[in-house]
Amino acid sequence: MRTFLKILSFLGLTLTILPSILVFAGRMELQNQHHWTLAGTVLWFATAPFWLDGKKKLEN
């Protein structure tokens, strides 16, 4: 489960930056980039808190 969540989180991060790279490369419109980036944002915040436990790290 943890691995699955991690994969989703990294997918979220990829969706956050990749659309901007595609806009820069002329392969995507700015409006579409807004939607995809938002999807990445939602995915990151919906999954990262379950495995990226800042509190646990602080104790290490």
């Binding site: 956050t16 806009v23 820069f24 807004h34 944002t41 800042g54 790290k57 104790e59 290490n60």
Partner: protein, 487 residues
């Protein structure tokens, strides 16, 4: 009943304000990496980046100034602040109490706390520029110092209250949120800058340098705006967090580090936040700025013909939303939040040290509310560069005092932690050092025209020399008095 239980939970949050951090609570480098990356990729970066454009920095001066200035900042954290933090495991405020005595430490804490409040206020204001977007709230302009509307005040209060509640819950909660938000936030900053580059004419990375010189950092300013050089950029980057490294405020954070080398984790913060994020924010502003240039004119040719009131607002919310959509607005809110949180936490610690009997959470709550009121005034944002330089300068002399006391006093045959040893409430050597250094800085500024960004370096050496000289005189006098009393 529920409130009593909640209050009891808050009272039990141990932050070791008055005692060294125990070994069981020490933290590894990863938590500092997350903390620094989150804290220095802040909402205020969205303002500082555009302000470099406003002040007419050239592309070469910006890149070289940021590289060198940020390196100096990392070295300051690693070699000045971290060794003392890990050597003592104390907060700055507790260490100051030992050196300066309770009364002088109280004065310092008050000044420190107020400065932190204003800084956190600017971060709350930045977040509010994003919160206000869906409600169509008019953003303050470059020349606005006072609140511009009721909507603006409501947006500021909404953000301020949330940030205050999280800060009240303590350091671990803040670090946890920063760790989670940091990687995403950095990518949004970079993505925003990258996505608007084609609008400036950058089609490949090879075009960037030419466009950067002709359309972003063009080396020209509006008629009534001062021009920045390499030296401004370098010293600003070095001293942007002067209060925290040279001024030793980050002792409060780095005292949790297992090793002093964890101070190098600050590189994650400054190179992501104070290099890439400042540049990305500058690019965002340039996209808006270039739109006011009449056809047939260049930005460098047009800017000197207008006043600053004719330049677009540097409000980060709309800028980020234009580039990357709702994610940009969320990023501005979160970026302001992750920076304002530790800043309010530090302010809470500073003020709490003045009244140790009052629980930290109560003090933090009061500090958060004061900060929120301050955030209503856009002057904090529009004059951010000057304010950041000023707050570092005011707190810096005490950092020099701690450095000399910790590293050199033993070698010089002087007593360290003088106030504690003498059971004194006021160390006049430290007080005179602080006061005279600041007076000298003001005189240099007024009579020799030295800008505020350049006063920190000579100020530190002056403070270090003054503290040794005054301590020698003071401790010699005390020794003579003790000796004659014994005879």
């Amino acid at each position: 009943m529920k409130f009593e239980k909640f209050k009891s939970n808050l009272d039990s949050i141990a932050e070791y304000e008055s005692a060294p951090v125990p070994p069981s609570r020490l933290k590894g480098w990863k938590s500092f990496l997350g903390m620094y990356a989150g804290e220095h990729t802040a909402g205020t970066e969205f303002v500082i980046g555009p302000l470099f454009v406003v002040h007419g920095v050239t592309a070469f001066d910006l890149v070289t100034g940021l590289l060198l200035g940020n390196l100096m900042a990392v070295l300051s954290w690693a070699f000045l602040c971290a060794p003392i933090a890990t050597g003592t495991r104390l907060t700055l405020y507790k260490k100051l109490e030992k050196i300066c005595g309770r009364n002088l430490a109280r004065i310092y804490n008050l000044v420190n706390g107020v400065m932190f409040c204003f800084l956190a206020g600017s971060m709350i204001a930045v977040s509010a520029t994003a919160v206000g977007i869906p409600f169509g709230i008019e953003m303050p302009g470059l020349g606005d110092w006072m609140p511009t509307s009721i909507g603006w005040i409501l947006a500021v209060f909404g953000v301020g209250l949330v940030i205050t509640v999280v800060a009240v819950l303590g350091y671990d909660q803040i670090a946890r949120f920063s760790n989670i938000a940091a990687p995403w936030m950095i990518l949004v900053f970079l993505g925003a800058g990258l996505a608007v580059l084609p609008e400036l004419g950058v089609k490949s990375f090879g075009d960037f340098w030419q466009v950067a010189n002709e359309k972003i950092w063009v080396g020209a300013t509006a008629g009534d705006v001062s021009k920045f050089t390499f030296w401004h950029v370098m010293f600003f980057a070095w001293f942007a967090n002067m209060a925290m490294h040279i001024g030793m405020s980050d002792m409060s954070i780095l005292r949790y580090a297992k090793k002093w080398q964890h101070g190098f984790a600050s590189a994650a913060g400054v190179y992501l936040g104070h290099f890439f994020a400042w540049m990305a924010a500058g690019i965002l502003y340039a996209v808006v700025l270039i739109q006011i240039v009449p056809q047939g004119m260049t930005l460098a040719g047009y800017l000197p013909t207008i006043g600053s009131d004719q330049m677009p607002s540097v409000a980060p919310g709309p800028l980020a939303t234009y580039a990357i959509g709702i994610s940009g607005a969320i990023c501005v809110i979160v970026a302001g939040w992750t920076t304002a949180n530790p800043t309010i936490y530090r302010a809470g610690l500073a003020i709490q040290a003045m009244m140790p009997r009052v629980k930290r959470w109560k003090v933090t709550l009061a500090v958060g509310l004061f900060t929120t009121v301050a955030a209503c005034f856009p002057a904090l944002v529009m004059k951010l560069l000057d304010f950041v330089a000023l707050y570092g300068l005011i707190l810096m002399p005490m950092g020099a005092v701690i450095f000399m006391d910790y590293h050199l006093f033993g070698k010089l045959g002087l007593a360290a932690d003088y106030a504690e040893k003498q059971q004194s409430n006021f160390n006049p050597a430290a007080a005179l050092t602080w006061f005279i250094t600041l007076v000298a800085a003001v005189l240099l500024n007024i009579f020799m025209g030295v800008e505020i960004f350049f006063l920190g370096l000579p100020g530190w050496f002056l403070a270090a020399m003054l503290y040794v000289a005054f301590s020698k005189a003071l401790q010699k006098r005390e020794t003579m008095q003790t000796g004659s009393a014994t005879v």
